[in-house]
Subunit: 266 residues, 3 copies
């Protein structure tokens, strides 16, 4: 049984997500659909790519991942599909793929232009229903990507720079908050590989994490390492530095939002 | 594999929706359940019918659509089921069917009164669990509608007038906002057929759409036709006139809510 | 087809729930997953247990119920699994089981410690993904609970007292609000058995329900028994006393929250 994942900014109030699922299941009955999120901030391609990048490796290979964060729906913007890292991805060509690829190359990249994969009637306001859903269902049913459209060179993709790359100094890294989760935990763009390198030159207890004029000393290994209500830093489940408050909300504790600067010193 | 859709005002915080799904899957294992919305405004039958009316045509025929917006649960109000347009529908007899039918006739309409289709114990506060879920599961499993209860004449249905029908003048149509979606897009009760008629007598660039003391000139064909942050009007994915702000929120832009008057002039 | 239910405090914005589902379906394709709630108040074990206790009896026996409300993730706290009342349950050992069991004994209780049931890599911040999901999938696939870990005595479980037990007097019961639902209905910790006893000594029309300096007289049998906008009390779908406002929001009407005292007099 193939899997299809959905990542959109549609919210859950309207019929939009249900309609996409109906279209998918009408074409590919028995297929399983997994919601990654429908609460991406409207039009936020960075956030959509971030959530999907964290999620897709946990899906079985051959899964089909659909991203509909698509302010350009119905305009000249292309829709693109690719086979990458053993998975299929479909998204508007608006930078989402460049964020997913991070400079790596897909096995195959095509323009989604074979109209016989679409619903018979294609609106100019809801391609999630009319194009993305039926295309995902047919890919998940085994129809070959090659037949979906003309092959594209990866260089032709709309390119978005990754958000705020961290700046490494001699004895510090300057990063920033890239995502605030439901608990108020702050995910920082400093990954576990970088932290491992630092731990080779400085014990993790000596690290200082600066945020919003406050300092957290040392890295914890789980939330409960800090007293309840106290801030801590650790490597979170996304493999990135995370600032949290044990049983609390770090966003409120520090009064910060996405983009906030974080400085790691040793 | 049959499909069951759910449209309720239950929200997603409590166990209510999960319990309905457990009952359905206990009776009809392997059946697929699609959520249309659980965020219908409490008791809002107009909104529930509107969402379902937009959604059901995208489901395969033979699907079973359950609506539980049911302030009269446990009182003398009836529950009704019908075969209409190739689909099955179950709802309280509180006007939802009259909104779905819009004057058309169902193929078959019955009172839901065969207690052997229900759970053994029927509460007076949660018929979604005790009646709607098991009835939907049995219908989806192929049990014939005829056995569910006594046939009803469509005239006996509780009737609700459709919300605010648009008023057509010589050179204008007076309509109103019937739904505000997650993006803040405003759906107006003026459908694409009416707009096509107008485009026969006046070029769509000459149309003026009045809302909240402001005027939008001409119809766009997709959101990106207007500059970012600018309002526009187009025929939306529901086949109705829609007022949006490109990459913005028209509800906030105009400071309006459902019911707001919209005037289309040519 | 086995069922897996999920009850978490993860919310729906992040990829966390979708990732758990991907892991489950990767191990047990074709299995059905039912969300009970992902909007448990963060860290609120009482609420998670309350929702699950109301929901699980409606699932087919043999279902696997996963609760991830887990502030101690990655610390020394154990994860436990049990066979109870014909169902399987997996949760952190933080009191959730004691709330579910209410003094009754499980058929079998084990520590979740067989690492070959887990994902190969286990983080210290997201056991929902790395432990709970794969364990649930394997249990639902028929792997025997005995092989999951060492048998535990029920006395070794972390114990949480049930929230605010009601106090019974000669002619009153003092209880409290244990849950406020999406509609604003107030669920009180006074169950239908207790109410039945009272109705044996006093007619239900003579009951007085005191809340927030106001009094509701008599028990209704459904919401529509009271005029629209008027408060009422009845036995709700959870088998507990419930205070509601017909087509309104009792939480706002009375200005109360969970924990509010309720006094039933006769």
């Amino acid at each position: 049984v193939a899997l299809v994942s959905l990542t959109t900014d549609f919210g859950m109030r309207d019929e939009y997500v249900g309609v996409m699922k109906a279209v998918i299941l009408g074409i590919a009955p028995g297929l399983a659909i997994v919601d990654i999120s429908h609460q991406v901030t409207p039009q936020d391609r960075q956030q959509a790519a971030f959530l999907l990048k964290n999620a897709y490796p946990y899906f079985q290979s051959g899964s089909v991942h659909v991203v509909v964060v698509d302010p350009g729906v119905g305009s000249q913007r292309r829709i693109v599909a690719m086979n990458f890292d053993g998975h299929y991805f479909i998204a508007p060509d608006n930078g989402i793929f460049s964020l997913l690829l991070e400079g790596r190359a897909p096995q195959k990249l095509v323009a989604v232009d074979s109209r016989d994969w679409f619903l018979p009637q294609v609106s100019r306001t809801f391609h999630g229903r009319d194009i993305f859903a039926p295309v995902a269902a047919r890919l998940a049913s085994g129809k070959p990507l090659e037949e979906l459209g003309t092959t594209l060179a990866v260089e032709t993709l709309h390119h978005l720079p990754p958000p705020c790359p961290p700046q490494r100094g001699r004895e510090h890294i300057a990063g920033s908050v890239v995502q605030v989760d439901h608990f108020g935990n702050l995910t920082i763009n400093i990954d576990h590989g970088l932290i491992k390198e630092i731990e080779n030159v400085a014990p993790s207890a000596d690290l200082k994490i600066h945020i919003a004029d406050q300092v957290i000393r040392g890295l914890s290994s789980c939330y409960a390492d800090a007293p309840v209500g106290t801030p801590l830093a650790l490597v979170g489940s996304r493999g990135l530095l995370e600032i949290a408050v044990n049983q609390g909300d770090a966003r409120r504790f520090f009064g910060v939002a996405r983009g906030e600067a974080v400085r790691l010193e040793w």
